[in-house]
Symmetry: C2
Subunit: 315 residues, 2 copies
């Protein structure tokens, strides 16, 4: 059975949402990604938590098949983020960021994680992401996230990392910033020239694009009627994406462009569940049959019957 | 052979684009829609032009199978719009609008157009759109566009029109405004309760959603590397959409939800061509084989191989 190593943040969030204010919500990119990926594959998690982080959340992850040996408990408080969403949930402002124990985080990958064939580098300093790869023994596929802060301020470290990344997963604005072109297709070409064979561009409520050597692929986000909390949706997408690929590999399947397209859909499904409740709550209760049902709904969403007959209908 | 009646504006645009300033560009919602739809079906066009409008453009439309009997030449100048796009082409400001002969436009549908089974009501005053329908003899399918200006200022006239509209085609912001809900799925439900059986929500560079009694359908916009001028893309989408349906009907096909889904793809294809050159120039030179090629590229864009095996890959 192929395993997946996930490195990133495990944290607390204070969320001001249209539905209310929520304090000390379990958060962090690695938490969302691990819970989402756990639907598909066993996970080795590497992160740092403070003395304030409850055993209960670690137990929840363990129950989902996440090995938390690599989660280091350090002296002090856990990473904390506070944000306020607007009434439409389309935009948010950061109210507070406290790195706390995360400030001195140096990932130490436990033995099992070092040989994991799949690696998801959550959004941490690109030099730390590189350090993680130095500890691994020839992963088959490395997926990385990053953000505007590192693209702006740590471009050199990022450029050193990118040749070792197989799939870069970033949002549309980050793609424009990194690729230095407003047109996303042109930005994608520039980014792929920096190293990553594949680029996934997350478009939030609109979906995600996959760029590779061939024609691009697009999967829409599922149009939900009730979106409660977008926090972690992108991380859940990344987790579902790479979790699915890990599973394919474990079953002896090829990690080719067809598999990556299916992985985009799997990621979209996990992202769509994530936003249905506050924090990672929906991911905690998510079962395989829920995922199956929504995969079928996704299929319907883009399904065109007899599409080729359109080709014969020109004047 | 089924015919399509299109009513809307035929105009001149002054465009300030990143690629340069262009004066007296042939424009108007009905021009774009008619040229796009003409790839699929014969058109009856109803509009008003001033003394300044060149015969050459009318001749171009005729050459594309557009009957311009219903295009009235009135005393005065043609409708004029001037706009400036930002460097990314993502937003634009209106610099000037001169209604000119359009101010007193009262559509008079010629005999052939009155019995057309398909009707596209371009974005004009909803009371005029209603007047057009009063002149028609039982169309099979009525498609209408509208805009924020009428939604805000002429809500009563719009509410009178909507029960007679089968497919409303509007953009995402207009859908939120008309449906009075930020969540597009909820707004769509509210709008469909106002009359239209189908709602198409245009999302610009992201694509289009189709809402009906069943699950929603989404078609992405084609990710182009070179977008020159977005003017008329929405009108070209609407023209391609209803033109395709007219053709299906003319071939004895059913106008059901499967046909509407294919029509969304056809509309997306026409919209993607429109933006490749200034004004309607690309639509003028467009041939059936170009449309066929891009329909195939669209198919690839959303194609997922063996997608169901994802369902068996859960832990």
């Amino acid at each position: 059975m192929s395993r997946l190593l996930i490195v990133g943040s495990v944290a607390f969030d204070d969320l001001e949402l249209p539905s209310g204010d929520f304090k000390n919500v379990w958060g962090g990119s690695a938490s969302y990604a691990a819970l989402a990926a756990s639907l598909f594959a066993p996970i080795d998690l590497c992160a740092v938590i403070g003395e304030d982080f409850p055993e209960e959340h670690l137990a929840t992850m363990k129950a989902h098949g996440v090995d938390v040996t690599g989660v280091e408990r350090a002296k002090g408080r856990s990473f904390r983020w506070a944000g306020r969403y607007d009434a439409t949930l389309a935009s948010r402002v950061t109210l507070d960021t406290q790195l706390n124990v995360f400030a001195d985080f140096r990932p130490k990958i436990p033995a099992a994680g070092r040989s994991a064939p799949f690696v998801l580098l959550g959004n941490i300093h690109p030099a730390l992401q590189y350090e993680v790869l130095e500890q691994t023994t020839k992963p088959k596929l490395v997926i990385a996230d990053t953000m505007n802060f590192w693209i702006d301020g740590e471009r050199a470290a990022l450029m050193k990392l990118l040749p070792r990344v197989d799939v870069l997963v970033i949002n549309e604005e980050e793609a424009r910033q990194l690729g230095q072109h407003h047109n996303v297709s042109r930005a994608a070409a520039a980014i792929r020239a920096m190293g990553p064979k594949y680029l996934v561009v997350k478009r939030g409520e609109y979906g995600a694009l996959l760029y590779d050597d061939g024609a691009p692929f697009f999967a829409p986000a599922y149009p939900l009627e009730d979106v409660v909390d977008p926090t972690g949706a992108g991380d859940s997408f990344a987790g579902g994406f790479v979790g699915y690929l890990t599973r394919v590999d474990g079953q002896g399947g090829q990690i080719d462009r067809a598999a990556l397209r299916r992985a985009i859909v799997a990621g979209s499904v996990l992202g769509s569940f994530c936003v249905e409740d506050v924090g990672p709550q929906r991911l905690v209760t998510l079962r395989g049959d829920h995922v199956r049902d929504r995969l079928l709904a996704f299929k319907q969403l883009v399904h065109v019957e007899h599409e080729l007959d359109a080709l014969t209908l020109l004047r």
